[in-house]
Symmetry: C2
Subunit: 210 residues, 2 copies
């Protein structure tokens, strides 16, 4: 219930911007590995190499810092995914997108899950502001997939009646669920199964050449 206004997102000096970024980066890393509740501001302070007052100089409170972390992770993921999804022009390209996702999960044995998915699972129920931001990110992600599939319809790879919206939702659900299961099982089996089954289904809808 603090009435203190949130500090501006971009500090006016170069040094200030660097400090703010260091704090967000350290917090994002810790929150990814240990959750928001499992990340104390003292831990962020040490990891970022700053002092307590810096954190509260740049952020109104821990919720405000968490907000910045959500924005940071959304930006990171979407900017990583966008180039891959913007060039979907064949089932082959879809498969290589799948490989990137699977490889990323495999590289860390499934640990961590999806940065957005983990944040959502922890925060969505109790914090409206977090849920809204995360829902928007998921929608943007799903929309990027949809646009990629739509391009495949446009270029004649997929039949015109393909429901790109539904398939993009299904693919994102498979990614999220596959990552949740990978986290517990330390295997990408479910992630691969989900994506492969859906891609096979999409392939069945491909326009048969000739």
């Amino acid at each position: 219930m603090s009435t203190r206004a949130a500090p501006p997102e971009a500090p006016s000096t170069r040094k200030g911007r660097a400090t703010r970024e260091r704090i967000v980066g350290a917090a994002a890393d810790l929150m990814y590995r240990h959750g928001v509740a499992g990340t104390s501001t003292p831990a962020v302070r040490d990891a970022a190499g700053v002092s307590s007052s810096q954190i509260y100089h740049y952020f109104a409170d821990k919720d405000d810092l968490t907000r910045a972390v959500i924005a940071f992770q959304s930006e990171t993921i979407l900017s990583n995914q966008a180039p891959l999804l913007a060039t979907l022009d064949s089932v082959e390209a879809l498969r290589s997108w799948r490989d990137v996702v699977v490889d990323a999960a495999r590289r860390q044995n499934g640990a961590g899950g999806c940065p957005l998915g983990s944040l959502s699972s922890e925060l969505s129920d109790d914090h409206r502001w977090a849920r809204d931001a995360l829902a928007a990110s998921f929608t943007a992600w799903s929309e990027a997939i949809r646009a990629g599939l739509a391009a495949m319809v446009d270029n004649g790879t997929l039949r015109p009646e393909t429901d790109a919206t539904m398939l993009s939702r299904a693919l994102l659900a498979a990614v999220q669920g596959g990552l949740v299961l990978a986290q517990a099982q330390h295997t990408t089996d479910a992630l691969e199964a989900g994506l492969d089954a859906l891609i096979a289904h999409i392939h069945d809808h491909a326009v048969v050449p000739g």
Copy 2:
């Protein structure tokens, strides 16, 4: 690092068993709604109508209580799912399983997500004991789905070469991912899209009658 041994799971008196169950039930409910870290032992004490010492009489510490909650939720979910999955004998039966899952999510607007998925997302990275228990539950769940699909192969509904193992993993991933997205988006769109796409894919593999 306490050296105190965990108390036995079943207290020797009727009253003791009832108290223990009340504590686990209250803790499961609170942890489902607010996460494990978001659930304090005082909150469990009040919700269960017991006093602090009861909790530590029946459980070695909060981790031990969390362990009991994981077991409770696994048991609850698997015993709810088992009857539906044991009778999968047609694509129609698969669709009604889908409806049960979707309706359950819709009834609470996606809030909460999957009790096991939420626990896993919060605990798997940091607590080996939790991850192992949750991985086992997910495996059992997936196996129940696989057995249902295998029955459909056996009775001739699905073609013999159907990969029931892979499809069961894909279905579970769709459920988990769909619930994660439902939690943020307050919509079962992704859950429905994932399950419907997979069921359509399975339907494509059904033995064509006649």
